[in-house]
């Protein structure tokens, strides 16, 4: 039997497989949010004065802002005072090696299939693991530092590389950019920082793994990646959360910054707990991701596979400032049951001869709503800009919805913009053909969906591609027939 079939067989009997909880002792902030909470988080992390000021500034702005109402998603109002804004697994002392990590923690990550230990070093991925709010372990640090690459948790970076953090923090996503970015700026607890020096091609995939563990907490992490002139890095992000009946908030900020000739490839497989079949529980995933192609000939590529979360609200964007810079966005968003996704991208063309490409594949099943919302903006000076967008939707079942909201704003007449979108049903004849050849209906759907999403899945690094394929099939389980 081929490997593919095994994979499919495996998954047909599964529901959300990361739904377990682990009893980790946690150090938590008191419930609620006010200036004291912000000060508490800052103090907990021994942060310098300037960062506390920065957080407080963000908090004061957030208080004045209103939650955005324009996304095509519906949820009961969030009580921001009923969230625990900081939760860290209790640490005894600072750790010197991986052996000193809490064995419960290592088990947790083993369950996730991420090894923090030595045995799987062969996989060649450096991992920064973030549990609840705090980065717990980063692997391969030494090897990377030989090349001058900095890859560490955010709080560590604040201590060891304050000049870099000060320079780049908030440079791509300003603190008052939007409601959730401001909230994140005020209370972010940790995250990953990555710096690739001039001319260095990062030899391995860098990866962050996020997990929400404690109940009633929100997770607010920040990722900042800076690629200096001529540098290259491929970065992966994955996430899971336990099954819980209440909704949990995840509001992250990701900032990418590329100099001349640099390239960042950022891949996400988002698998937060989506809630149960009746729409109970699940994560609210309100994320701001933006990359700035600052230098000429720089490139930023976003690839995302969105299968989890009760609500997804996320628009990884590219600001193409440098001449000849390039932005890419590849996305597969799958929604089932009562999930809602409003996701897409923004391509802001500022420099000359910039180009961008958008490929978005939405799949909706059950009673879910799936929206693509994107903007392509060609500024006055962006001559010879080029954009190609394709957004396709696949509908499975007669109670789901697929929506497309592409905004195309062109102020320069030399721009060439193409946009196309289709919406259709999964082909009955295709399913029938597969069934005729002894492939079960469920497996046939997985096969067809994988084919449909291939263009995007091909962009993923290999290790993630396999996981993404499994996830796709899993999310759609039971949606046909």
């Amino acid at each position: 039997m081929s490997k593919d079939n095994q994979v499919l067989e495996e998954l047909t009997s599964k529901e959300y497989e990361h739904g377990w909880t682990v009893n980790l002792e946690a150090d938590e902030a008191p419930r609620g949010l006010n200036e004291d909470t912000v000060r508490f988080i800052s103090a907990k992390k021994n942060e310098p004065e300037w960062l506390l000021e920065w957080r407080l500034k963000a908090f004061r702005m957030w208080v004045k802002m209103a939650e955005p109402k324009w996304p095509n998603v519906h949820y009961p109002p969030i009580d921001y005072q009923d969230i625990i804004y900081y939760s860290a697994p209790k640490k005894k002392a600072s750790l010197n090696s991986i052996d000193e990590v809490d064995p419960e923690l290592i088990k947790t990550f083993e369950k996730l299939g991420i090894s923090l230990g030595e045995q799987k070093r062969l996989t060649g991925i450096a991992v920064d693991a973030v549990i609840d709010s705090v980065s717990v372990a980063t692997t391969f640090k030494d090897k990377l530092s030989e090349l001058g690459i900095i890859f560490c948790s955010f709080s560590e970076a604040v201590k060891e590389h304050p000049e870099l953090i000060r320079k780049y923090l908030g440079s791509v996503v300003p603190i008052n950019d939007n409601y959730f970015a401001a909230l994140n700026s005020a209370v972010f607890s940790d995250g990953s920082f990555c710096y690739i020096p001039k001319g260095v091609r990062c030899p391995m995939e860098l990866s962050t793994y996020f997990r929400i563990n404690a109940a009633n907490t929100g997770q607010f992490e920040r990722t900042l990646i800076v690629a200096e002139e001529g540098a290259y890095v491929s970065y992966l992000e994955g996430c899971t959360a336990p099954m819980r009946d209440e909704n949990q908030l995840h509001a992250a900020v990701v900032e990418l910054y590329t100099m001349k000739d640099a390239e960042i490839k950022y891949s996400t497989v988002q698998n937060w707990y989506p809630g149960d079949k009746n729409g109970k529980g699940g994560i609210y995933n309100f994320v701001t991701k933006r990359g700035l192609c600052f230098g000429d000939h720089s490139k930023i590529s976003w690839t995302q596979v969105e299968t989890g979360s009760a609500i997804t609200w996320k628009y990884p964007s590219c600001v193409l400032k440098g001449d000849y810079s390039k932005g890419e966005f590849y996305s597969v968003a799958v929604t089932n049951n009562y999930q809602q996704a409003d996701t897409g991208t923004k391509m802001i063309h500022i420099g000359k001869n910039t180009s961008s490409r958008i490929v978005s594949k939405g799949i909706s099943a059950g009673k879910s709503q799936n929206s693509y919302r994107g903007q392509v903006q060609i500024m006055k000076r962006a001559s010879n800009a080029r954009n190609f967008s394709q957004c396709d939707s696949l509908l499975m079942g007669d109670q789901c919805g697929a929506h497309t909201f592409p905004y195309i704003d062109v102020e320069n007449n030399t721009a060439r913009i193409e946009h196309e979108a289709t919406t259709s049903k999964i082909g009955e004849d295709q399913i029938f053909y597969c069934q005729q050849r002894g492939i079960s209906e469920e497996a046939a759907v997985a096969l067809i969906v994988n084919g449909y999403a291939k263009e995007v899945l091909n962009q993923l690094p290999m290790e993630f591609a396999v996981e993404a394929q499994k996830l796709l099939a899993l999310t759609l389980e039971g949606s046909v027939g």
Partner: protein, 435 residues
Amino acid sequence: MNVATKRDLVSELAASRTRSYSPADQALREDALTYLKNTGLPISKTEEYRFAPVTRILEKNFDSLTLSSQVNTVVSVNEFLIEGLKGNIIVFVNGSYAPALSKIVSNPDQIIIKPLSKALVENEEVVSALLNQKEDYKKDPFSAVNTGLWSEGLFFHVAKHTEVKEPVYLLSLNDASSAVSVHTRIVGWVEEGSEVTLIERFETTGHEAAFHTQVEEISVAKEAVLNYYKIQNDPGKSIQVCNTLIHQSDHSHVNTFTLTMNGEVVRNNFSIAIDGEHCESHFHGLYLLTGNTLADNHTVVDHIKPNSFSNELYKGVMDGHSKGVFNGKIYVRPQAQMTNAFQSNRNVLLSETSTINTKPQLEIWADDVKCSHGCTTGQLDEEALFYLQSRGINKDSARAMLLYAFASDVIATIKDETLKTYFDQLIAERLHKNF
């Protein structure tokens, strides 16, 4: 320094209200204006009016929107008629019916055509069943303005199983020798198995500010056919907001063509509600803009029932400082299975200072459907230009040729030959066709 006090345009408009035609009409007008006072006119942050600053231009062009007397210097409308077109001619000057300039030729057994104010008295039952039934004034602030203020309108009613050979030509002429604010309304009913052609044309003379709102509600019954053409050619400082809703029943066909060429701000909210099975809707538009014109086409195709087909094609050419805005919504409701809906929006930007904002939007709740949209923006193909020039055609002619070719597939959708020739002429003139 003068501190500008914030103007209350709604009150200025409301103060100019003069007429009502029945107690029910009176009540409806008051409701609409009260609603408007609470919601206000759209501001720049209003999503639906993000690119069409109608309110701001109104403030700029009008010292006051309470206009007492309006000058009428129109004596002849010959220059605004379509040569060779034998049809019913209805002329409105500054929002009043001009019987001397109008001519109704159709047999009243086939089609009733009369001013709406008259119909509201004489055909009260029919009109009150149609007026403000399909188009709800709460959907758009300018629809509320119109509901509160309309002075005159056109009523037409096509009898069952009748093909009306003579088109209905409605000329809305505004005399802007002094500032004018005009609000007109169209109510139409095409009964079962009938066919009619409606042509609307907007023209303005004079150089002062003009503000025109129009609301149209047209019901197309079972197996009926409506051909609808609109020519918007108001020059100068004119602001126009049209809200059109066409309601389709089973097996009906609707063909529309909107040609927008002039005006300071032209905003069309054009909706087709496909509330029947096996309907066909062809939805075409062409906007050829120069100068400072802003043309904003907001279209909605709403598939409510299953098994229907809609095809939308809007094309635009922007020159000078003009701005084109397109927003095409396709809704496919949960019951509307087996829907086929297509939409295409293509734009050419000719000058460095022209812009286009387009948003083709699909919202689909049914699964067994085929829907697609496409949208492009670009300039004329350099290679095509070069090819023509290398064959001895000068650059201007080559440009005109390519633009004319770009527009020709929309023109080709016009069935009536007289009309097609006329539209072709208008478009060729605008594109400086000289071959």
